[in-house]
């Protein structure tokens, strides 16, 4: 029996850096499990690095059937060339049907390069994945044409069907200590990268706070008008014990760090309450806040798209509403 046949199916790239905070791999394993059950196949997680035993066990506990491991000192730090070489060789040898990865800063560098190497397509920043019941093909829903519509992408011929997905679009499965699976160690050839040498790595202090796990999120858009107005959001967030997010125009204007960016190219949040101030509601932004339980929107344009998804809308100038809101809250809290 050709055992490599067991390694077809759904592959998920295991991004274990900052494992206990960054849950996107676990979320993709959960979705991969659902897709694999529909397709009657298996979920395999790819794990590259050095001394990564703990993560292999975690991935099995969270729903993976197989963990495919490459352990090598030169894979200890992520380097796009060496990682691409290993995963491309595996994909060419074992021919997975589907390959999923997180739409993170890492994913945005790694997966397009891998797709090019494998001569297949890549649907970036997907917000939904389903299996077509008639064809068995992966339906990949992703914002298109500047985010003005959602496109359903199908890769009819090329394999693997590759997609990147935002963190928190899917929900991870709970840790199951009784889970069992298989670990596979294919042969690897790691060539030392002659162009890039990692001297040391240091963890960057997070500046976006704990945005993705926050129960209350205050988001500011360009409609706030100035950096000074945007700064008021931090005061509001402090009063409400929340976190501050931003839209792309705000980040571009330098009012907020990239770490606070929400939406298609930023983070996805699922708070209990989201207050969106001075945001029009462009699709690029709203794909990151779809999971919010309650949305309160403030905008001067009564026809702004944000009001279509808001539970409560307030039409008014942000510069007038925000100080009033702060004043009221300061008295009550």
């Amino acid at each position: 029996m050709d055992k490599s046949g067991l390694l077809h199916g759904v592959w998920v790239f295991g991004d274990y850096r900052n494992y206990f905070q960054n849950r996107v791999t676990l979320q993709l394993i959960a979705k991969g499990r659902e897709l694999a059950e529909t397709l009657r196949t298996r979920v395999t997680v790819l794990l590259l690095g050095e001394a990564v035993h703990q993560y292999a066990m975690e991935y099995i506990a969270h729903g993976a059937d197989i963990v495919m491991v490459a352990e090598h000192p030169d894979l200890r730090c992520y380097q796009v060339e060496s990682y691409t070489n290993v995963v491309a060789r595996w994909a060419e040898a074992f021919k997975p049907d589907i390959l999923l990865g997180g739409a993170t800063s890492f994913g945005r560098e790694f997966f397009p390069r891998l797709a090019k190497r494998l001569k297949t397509g890549l649907s970036a920043d997907c917000v939904r994945l389903e299996v077509d019941p008639d064809t068995g093909l992966l339906l990949q829903t992703t914002p298109a044409f500047g985010g003005n519509l959602l496109a359903e992408v199908v890769s009819s011929h090329r394999r693997p069907q590759m997609a990147t997905i935002h963190p928190y679009v899917f929900k991870e499965l709970p840790h199951k200590a009784s889970a069992v699976g298989r670990v596979v160690y294919p042969e690897i050839e790691v060539k030392a990268n002659t162009q890039v040498r990692v001297l040391r790595s240091r963890r960057q202090q997070a500046r976006g706070g704990n945005l993705e796990d926050a129960q209350i999120v205050i988001v500011g858009g360009r409609g706030l008008g100035s950096r000074e107005q945007f700064k008021l959001l931090f005061e509001l967030a402090e009063l409400l014990a929340g976190e501050v997010g931003a839209t792309r125009p705000v980040v571009r204007a330098g009012w907020a760090d990239e770490e606070r960016l929400l939406g298609q190219t930023g983070k996805t949040v699922k708070p209990k309450l989201l207050i969106s101030i001075g945001t029009s509601g462009a699709l690029q932004y709203t794909t990151g806040i779809n999971g919010a339980e309650t949305i309160i929107a403030v905008n001067r344009d009564a026809h702004a798209p944000i009001f279509k998804m808001a539970d409560l809308g307030l039409v008014g100038e942000s510069s007038a509403v925000l100080p009033l809101l702060l004043e009221t809250l300061r008295k009550r809290i």
Binding site: A56, M57, E58, F94, R182, V184
Partner: protein, 156 residues
């Protein structure tokens, strides 16, 4: 493409042949007087490894029997002592025969074994390299579940 594989558990594994494995056996535990080494599957709720063995010295003399981490027959007058995160077994000469150390992760356990073991023919069967135990020869098996006592092991 060639690959190696083994069954693993989310709860506890051993490091063997550079791989994770939830359990493995070298030799046949059902034999009466032959060498064997069994690192049995550790189920949820237990945190210690389950090591059983019949060990010989380089000249094929029996040293001791180990039954789930406890010394049984002990013609070699070996001794067991606690060690960091595990235990150590010494021969009467004072040399360390086996060292077992279990590392606790956030949600699971990994046991590393250091040993240099010989079978009844004086052949080297197990030794340690790079933090992992390595098995010599073909006669070993990865376990997909706990090994029932006295069950013969299929020879590879």
């Amino acid at each position: 493409m060639e690959f190696r594989e083994s069954p693993i558990s989310a709860h506890h594994n051993y490091l063997v042949n550079g791989m994770l494995a939830q359990g493995f056996v070298v030799g046949d535990p059902s034999s009466k007087d032959h060498f064997f080494f069994l690192a049995d599957v550790v189920l949820q709720g237990e945190t210690r490894p389950r090591i059983s063995a019949r060990l010989m010295d380089e000249d094929s003399h029996p040293l001791l029997e180990l039954k789930v981490n406890r010394i049984g027959e002990n013609p070699g007058k070996c001794s067991i002592e606690s060690a960091f995160a595990g235990y150590r077994i010494r021969c009467s000469s004072g040399d360390v025969l086996i060292e077992v150390r279990t590392e606790a992760f956030a949600n699971g356990y990994l046991t590393r074994i250091k040993a240099r073991l010989f079978d009844e023919h004086g052949h080297l069967r197990v030794e340690t390299r790079d933090e992992s135990i390595w098995i010599h020869g073909e006669e070993y098996l990865f376990l997909a579940g706990p090994l029932p006592e006295g069950r013969a092991v299929r020879r590879k």
